[in-house]
């Protein structure tokens, strides 16, 4: 049996990878432990959020599916940071944990290029450093031209609760026991990472009157550029807000020795995410804080679990009971699922090329948590790029590599391959140095052309984009020609730059009616022109360094005077350009200048 592309793992990375490959016309196989876990959301019931919401839009712009499926199934929608500048706005949806995976599975099953089998992959077969096949736990081998590993938290997964450490994937699923060892044998460096999830509470046992209600926005939004909203404003599900109490903190402090993380029961614990500490971490590290915010989020319309965001823990069950009951509104709450921590093997992402192909094995790609990231959106973004690039490789074309000044996905992948991770990586707006260019509102203008070029965006979608671009240009040109009377005849373009003036004040003066999104885009481009220019200038500097390529066969041992840490890092990462080299931590400006001097000689000789 042979497929062009095999994807191992049906999570958010796997789904995008398999769809990208199949939609580009390649016969693709998805190997998953169980169809029931395809596009499963084992942790928070939401898609999007700061920076992540922009990633969902980028996925949509490139021809991926996360945004479209989320639009169809979401139960609440919010525009975050709507009171701040346009650069940092981002959508966040409460997703339905039943309907989202169901819709995604439908997409896969209806695609004639996709086959799905329920198996566990335990090894990969490599010949002359080229991928040949996967080997299932049954011993069966399936051949492929390219392989994409999107194993999530499944490699050597352990569930931690108090003193216990059980071999298991999330929600009691079956982990892969040997795959990571076999990857290690092939030369991959492994990391042991950890993440956690909070308890789930029975909705009917919560006294919501003691909490604060948080509703969705009063405006309809969609992640996708191609469809209208499916939901109605009135029918959105609310979330609720509550806080930890002094009693909660006391319970945690008294029982700290029973926590998996603090108890000292376990050796060689994985490294947890800095941005997502457990509640015991928060109480210990921020001891002077009186209370911590907790969100109560519905998981689905089809069952009663409420997700207690902010309360992830590895305490034993009896302590969790006490902790939950100390929260306002949850005095009599019934815990349906206890919180747990999970540890898993990941590979060192510095061993990847910017295309997400591994440096060691030709034709092997990895995406998602296996690369040390965390989050559904981060996984999906990588899955899409891995799927596209695996397909492009089979087609004999150059890979799609997004730059830091054109997408968050580019920032994410560049960070992974250049800096690597120590703890699970989450995208933050602060990681994007050119974020004024990377807005949620212009993801299509930034990226749709690439989606079209690789064949995931069709002619209709592309024409829509071209029209939008033309209209935006026309609006701006027209504004320049409109004179504002009584205002010393300044033109509308300059007038719009004033704080108190918005496009709404001016749109009546335009010769024709334009779309709301086009007007918004033109307004942002005019109002923030100075800052956009400044950011573009910075980005230009980066591009110049990016274009200065480092020869693939460069021998760092021959360059005397490099600091030893810089030499080790450069040898390990083998950056493709000066730009990438300059972002490696431990490589200082003086090392870059030495490298530059060496290169001058190298090219002169």
């Amino acid at each position: 049996m042979k497929y062009e592309i095999i994807v191992v793992g049906g999570g958010h990375a796997g789904c995008e990878a398999v769809l990208a490959s199949a939609n580009k016309g390649h016969k693709t196989l998805l190997v998953t432990g169980s169809k029931d876990t395809i596009a499963m959301m084992p942790c928070n019931p939401s898609i999007g959020g700061s920076a992540k919401g922009i990633v969902v839009r980028e996925i949509d712009a490139l021809g991926g599916w996360m945004g479209k499926v989320a639009d169809k199934t979401l139960i609440q929608m919010k525009m975050l940071n709507s009171g701040k500048g346009p650069a940092v706005r981002s959508l966040r949806a409460q997703a339905d944990k039943i309907t989202y995976p169901r819709e995604m599975l439908k997409l896969l099953e209806n695609n004639k290029n996709i086959d799905i089998i329920e198996e566990i992959v335990e090894d990969i077969i490599v010949e002359k450093n080229k991928i040949k096949a996967v080997k299932l736990s049954t011993g069966k081998e399936i051949m492929c031209d390219a392989l994409i590993l999107t194993t999530g938290t499944y490699m050597k997964a352990n569930i931690l609760v108090g003193e216990s450490r059980t071999v298991s994937g999330p929600n009691g699923t079956r982990p892969s026991l040997y795959l990571s060892d076999n990857l290690k044998k092939l030369g991959f460096k492994l990391l042991r990472l950890k993440t956690g999830t909070p308890p789930r509470i029975d909705r009917s046992t919560i006294d919501f009157s003691k909490t604060k209600r948080e509703d969705g926005d009063n405006k309809l939004y969609t992640f996708s550029f191609d469809n209208d909203a499916y939901y109605t404003i009135e029918k959105q599900e609310p979330c609720y807000l509550t806080y930890t109490t002094q009693e909660t903190h006391n319970i945690i402090k008294e029982n700290l020795s029973k926590s998996s993380m603090y108890g000292g029961f376990h050796k060689n614990l994985g490294i947890g995410p800095r941005y997502c500490p457990s509640i015991e971490d928060k109480v210990v590290r921020f001891a002077d804080k009186e209370r911590h915010q907790l969100f109560l989020e519905p998981e689905s319309l089809y069952y009663t679990d409420i997700y207690l965001q902010g309360f992830s823990t590895s305490m034993p069950y009896d302590v969790q009971e006490k902790m939950v009951h100390s929260l306002p509104g949850l005095e009599n709450a019934k815990i349906l699922k206890y919180a747990y921590a999970i540890e898993y093997d990941a590979i060192d992402s510095k061993e990847l090329k910017p295309s997400l192909e591994t440096k060691i094995i030709d034709g092997l790609f990895t995406a998602g948590q296996i690369n040390g990231t965390s989050g559904y959106e981060e996984a999906a973004g990588q899955g899409l790029i891995a799927g596209i690039n695996a397909a492009l490789k089979l087609e004999g074309k150059d890979p799609l590599i997004l730059k830091r000044d054109e997408s968050y996905i580019g920032v994410l992948i560049d960070d992974l391959v250049t800096k690597g991770v120590k703890d699970p990586y989450r995208l933050l707006t602060s990681r994007a140095e050119y974020r004024l260019l990377l807005r949620h509102d212009n993801a299509d203008l930034r990226l749709r052309k690439y989606g079209y070029e690789v064949g995931l965006i069709n002619e209709d979608q592309y024409q829509k984009l071209v029209n939008k671009q033309t209209n935006i240009k026309n609006i701006i040109e027209e504004l320049k020609s409109i004179k504002i009377k009584d205002k010393k005849n300044i033109n509308a373009y300059d007038y719009l730059k004033r704080t108190e003036i918005t496009m709404d004040d001016l749109k009546e003066k335009l010769s024709k009616k334009y779309g709301e999104l086009e007007l918004e885009q033109a307004e942002i481009m005019v109002k923030y022109e100075g800052y956009i220019k400044k950011t573009k200038k910075e980005a230009e500097k980066m591009r110049k360094l990016e274009n200065k390529k480092i020869p693939k066969d460069i021998d760092y041992d021959k360059i005397s005077n490099l600091a030893s840490e810089a030499r080790i890092k450069l040898k390990e990462i083998r950056p493709e350009s000066f730009g990438q080299a300059s972002r490696i931590s431990g490589v200082n400006p003086s090392d870059i200048s030495i490298l530059s001097i060496y290169m001058k000689r190298y090219f002169n000789d």
Binding site: R291, L428, S590
Partner: protein
């Protein structure tokens, strides 16, 4: 980079002892060839007595310091020969080294190696260069301070404050739903911008003083013919040691010579024949004299006590009225004809240059607050690259103030704050982004 270099490290012909420094992988090997004892097995950081020899004849009796890599200034093997200080002797030793395989170092090459080998950062390298080039005690102090990292520390302090605010802004963006995290307000950014402006302006101001100390005060002695400009200059030259009488280089072409007055350096601007007894300011032409006035930090305007003020004098007074100047009335030993009232309430230094010019010297010290500078802690940026970067940062902070007035959203204002950070980091050569993320995580409590 792989050559072994050598140079005379002390000023030629001044001291009783000179130091010839050799740096590079072959330095011990090369010095060994001209030394009468074996240095190969000497321990690092030792000083060794012996003789420099040529064809078995003793050239000089010396002490040789051996410092092996990496704990040296350049992180290479360094050998320093402490020899007797005469020019002939020192040059002879240098010549021997060159004949035995060392190459003459380019100006600043030791420092460049120290920088490239990661021994010092850019700001330190610049300071060392300044120290090498420093000609007065004040300038040396200034250079040493740069090495101590005093400037770096001050700038780091400013950067840290900026980063803290930015980290908070970032948290507000990345975790908008966390209501109990402090929200950065425009008022705080306004305060921040005032703080940056104040600190950087202070630094700039002090730095420009620092530049004066290091590079000297461009001084123009002006006056119509026969007021005694040349006697003032000659008196200054006689009483103070003229350091350089001819400086090459494009920007300094107009400098006639340098004089040290009470420890501060005066660059005397050549007014084309000022030393000739027959001074002819009129010959320079109005345009050139205007240009000269423009380029001067200090103008010594000389008048003759024995003559009435002419239109020409009044024109000079008028042309220099916006500059830092000292009005000197010379020839006080002659009969008074000049009308002192014409000078208004400006201070007049009355001298007789043939006898005594102390009053002028004191006035120069006063006008540049030399005493103050002498006693002060020096925290100056000491070269023009750094100064121009600070100016750039101040401009951005003015931008920030403007933007604050225009109600620009905070996350956009952050672009300006970040730019200031980047400029400041450029001065001390550190990277911004990782620091920001570290601050973000260590100061705020967030998560699922």
């Amino acid at each position: 980079m792989n050559d072994t270099i050598c140079a005379i490290s002390t000023a030629i012909g001044i001291g009783a002892i000179s130091i010839v420094r050799v740096s590079g992988s072959k330095s011990i090997n090369i010095v060994n060839k001209i030394f009468d004892r074996d240095l190969n097995n000497k321990k690092s950081h030792t000083i060794n007595y012996g003789h420099i020899i040529e064809n078995n004849e003793i050239v000089d009796e010396v002490m040789i310091t051996i410092m092996k890599a990496p704990k040296t200034f350049t992180r290479e093997d360094i050998v320093e020969i402490n020899c007797h200080g005469s020019i002939v002797n020192t040059n002879k030793i240098l010549e021997l080294l060159l004949n035995n395989g060392a190459r003459l170092a380019e100006p600043g090459e030791f420092t460049k190696r120290a920088f490239l080998n990661g021994r010092i950062d850019l700001i330190e390298a610049e300071s060392v260069m300044d120290m090498i080039n420093s000609k007065t005690e004040n300038a040396r102090k200034l250079a040493i301070n740069g090495i101590d990292g005093k400037i770096s520390n001050l700038i780091k302090k400013i950067i840290n404050r900026l980063i803290k605010v930015n980290a908070n802004i970032e948290v507000n963006i990345d975790y908008p739903e966390y209501e109990d995290i402090e929200i950065i307000t425009k008022k705080e950014i306004e305060e921040l911008s005032k703080y940056i402006n104040k600190e950087l302006s202070k630094l700039l101001n002090e730095s420009e003083n620092g530049k004066i100390i290091k590079e000297g005060i461009n001084t123009l002695i002006l006056g119509k013919p026969n007021v005694g400009k040349s006697s003032i200059l000659n008196k200054l030259l006689n009483e103070e040691k003229a350091i350089v009488t001819d400086i090459a280089g494009t920007t300094r072409d107009i400098i006639e010579g340098q004089i040290r007055v009470n420890g501060i350096l005066l660059n005397i601007i050549d007014t084309a024949g000022i030393r000739k007894t027959n001074d002819k300011v009129e010959k320079i032409g109005v345009e050139k004299s205007l240009k000269l006035i423009e380029s001067a930090d200090l103008i010594i305007l000389v008048f003759n006590n024995n003559e009435l003020l002419t239109d020409e004098d009044l024109e000079l007074l008028n042309k220099t009225k916006d500059k830092k100047r000292i009005i000197v009335v010379n020839k006080m030993d002659l009969k008074n004809k000049i009308d002192f009232k014409k000078f208004g309430c400006e201070k007049i230094v009355k001298i007789s240059a043939l006898h005594e010019i102390d009053e002028l010297k004191n006035e120069i010290s006063d006008i540049f607050k030399l005493n103050e500078l002498n006693n002060k802690d020096f925290t100056y940026l000491s070269n023009s690259r750094q100064i121009s970067l600070i100016k750039k940062a101040i401009n951005v902070s003015k931008n920030l103030e403007q933007a604050l007035k225009k109600e620009v959203p905070i996350d956009i204002l952050e672009i300006d704050i970040k730019e200031i950070c980047e400029i400041l980091n450029e001065i001390i050569g550190e990277s911004y982004d990782e620091k920001l993320i570290d601050t973000l995580f260590s100061n705020f409590c967030l998560g699922k």
